[in-house]
Symmetry: C2
Subunit: 227 residues, 2 copies
Amino acid sequence: MQGTLPPASEPTAYTPTDRTVPTRSAQRASYDRELVHAILDEGYVCHLGFVRDGAPVVLPTLYGRVGERLYVHGSTGSRPLRMTGQAGPGLAVCLTVTHVDGLVLARSAFHHSINYRSVVVHGIAHQVTDPEERRTALNALVDHVVPGRSADSRPANTKELAATAVIRLDLEEVSAKVRTGGVSDEPEDLALPHWAGVIPVSRRYGAPLADAALTPGTALPEYLAAL
Amino acid sequence: MQGTLPPASEPTAYTPTDRTVPTRSAQRASYDRELVHAILDEGYVCHLGFVRDGAPVVLPTLYGRVGERLYVHGSTGSRPLRMTGQAGPGLAVCLTVTHVDGLVLARSAFHHSINYRSVVVHGIAHQVTDPEERRTALNALVDHVVPGRSADSRPANTKELAATAVIRLDLEEVSAKVRTGGVSDEPEDLALPHWAGVIPVSRRYGAPLADAALTPGTALPEYLAAL
């Protein structure tokens, strides 16, 4: 698949705002559009935060990206999706995606850390009502989990579409935060006898388990074997 | 290590509340204390939500569990930790932990899903000021990432302790949500030619990368080899 360049008018970085500039470890923060997209595209589960009766709620949910738009879907009866309303002002959300890349084991308890890449998106989520955008979003949600899968499944029918709410969050107020590299112990701790280093962490896919009712002879598609 | 029984007065389940009873997929919800503990103990990164200027904020952070208390730590300068205050009413938070166990690929796009286990904790986070509880919490945070590690590292010194804020969230308003099992396609879709089944997902630890300054001859401890 070929990449696509952003339109000439699109800057290569998001503009930092008061809430996307961290109070701590500012050197780990980035507003680079390509980095943000890459972190988002490697995941499929985000943690979506919203405010209900004045208190925060954080729920794990699937997401998909299409250009500068993130999509989340769910039952029309689910709480955050109902709260965005059919029209109206939308719902203030914070959508966060995190990948853990390594355990950083320092000689000192204090300098223990995690190598990670995360993206935090602030904004107002709106329900998507345009039928074509809804289709695009639902395909993106399936393809985010397994690229190529939406074309190899039965598309949603009218009844299923009616039961599904899709909300959109534009990538405008966005930051990434990344920690990479090794241990940062104090110089006076280097001779301590404790083992120090990094344990890499990654995602592993196991051997596919076929559905018991699968039509005999159905081959595992290439896009799944590639996982 | 031996397990410990909860005190006789402690019920085996958390009491459901308005905000821990889901509006959707209620059959996936559980309030079982052992299940909640098991899900929490398998992870070390949570997504912590709080409200700032009326808007939600969701940040990934490490956590540890000691009995019915969760601990989160950070710099005394970090935003959520500052917001809990030294005394005062505390900070309303929602702490969520999610493990992805599988990709559920149905024949229909609509029935695609994820096998997962998550825990959502609602409550008021308070700063911990008692020196002994702070020590216990910081050890728990290190041991949550790698069991046994806190005893094999230099404990925090006075300066490091002064720079570290610890907040506590009691496990009271808690729910787990779990999806397991296979594909739930519509009967009329079973003959479709699309492959259907589950792709297991798990966490993989790579070979440990020793710090370049490691004292020659320092062996990899057993608790790390066991990962």
